[in-house]
């Protein structure tokens, strides 16, 4: 993760509809916690990042 990522906001969504938005560390932590607690699923940081989207990229319509 580079310094620019620290400034960007990340949105992660669970297939069940739950979602969270925040800085990358908070989003990854909340998503891993949701998966473990609600779905008994062990997700990794890479799993979360692979399915999450950077809000700036979404807003600009560019690639995540």
């Amino acid at each position: 993760m580079n310094e620019a990522d620290d400034q960007r906001r990340l949105r992660a969504r669970c297939a069940c509809g739950w979602e969270t938005v925040g800085d990358v560390e908070a989003t990854v932590a909340a998503t891993i916690d949701h998966g473990q607690r609600v779905h008994n699923m062990t997700a990794t940081r890479d799993d979360v990042l692979a399915s999450a989207e950077w809000l700036e990229a979404v807003e600009k319509g560019g690639p995540a």
Partner: protein
């Protein structure tokens, strides 16, 4: 049922699909941490499915009054074990909830599975299974409150079965 294919999703060869059901005065409603929808739980290699589901339901929603596996089927590249979790009204606590409508069951042909199975049909079968248990199983009969058994009397009793 709305699922978001771009979201993080569970996987694994065996998964649980939990229907959290409660009695709202005189009718049954579906609720859960994922809304009024099936609640999917990943099942590991070692923990007993019933123990895993009971643990997760207890931690997330609260202790269920009753928890029963009611059917299974093949879906999502997994074997899906369906559970009905009966909870008290006080545990709904702001979770989205919706009345459960009656529906036709997904019926197999003599030697082939149903072409499609909607989750509402799985709920219907699960409640028919609970209606059967209310007559056949002493623990269920004694655990379910009287008003629950009154509502279940409208369901045709059915034992556990394979839906796919």
């Amino acid at each position: 049922m709305t699922r978001f294919p771009d979201g993080l999703d569970i996987s694994g060869p065996v998964q649980a699909e939990v229907f959290v059901v409660w009695l709202n005065t005189d009718h049954l409603e579906l609720t859960g941490p994922c809304g009024a929808a099936p609640w999917l739980i990943e099942l590991g290699e070692t923990e007993h499915p019933l123990a895993a589901v009971e643990r997760v339901v207890r931690d997330v929603v609260g202790p269920p009054l009753l928890l029963h596996s009611t059917s299974w089927r093949r879906d999502r590249a997994s074997v899906i074990l369906s559970f009905v979790a009966v909870i008290e009204a006080g545990l709904v606590d702001g979770m989205e909830s919706a009345p459960i409508d009656r529906t036709e069951l997904a019926r197999s042909s003599a030697t082939a599975a149903p072409v499609t199975i909607d989750y509402r049909q799985v709920v219907e079968h699960g409640l028919r299974h609970m209606a059967w248990l209310a007559h056949d199983d002493r623990v269920v009969a004694e655990t379910l409150p009287d008003d629950w058994r009154t509502v279940l009397a409208a369901y045709v009793p059915e034992p556990f079965r394979h839906l796919d």
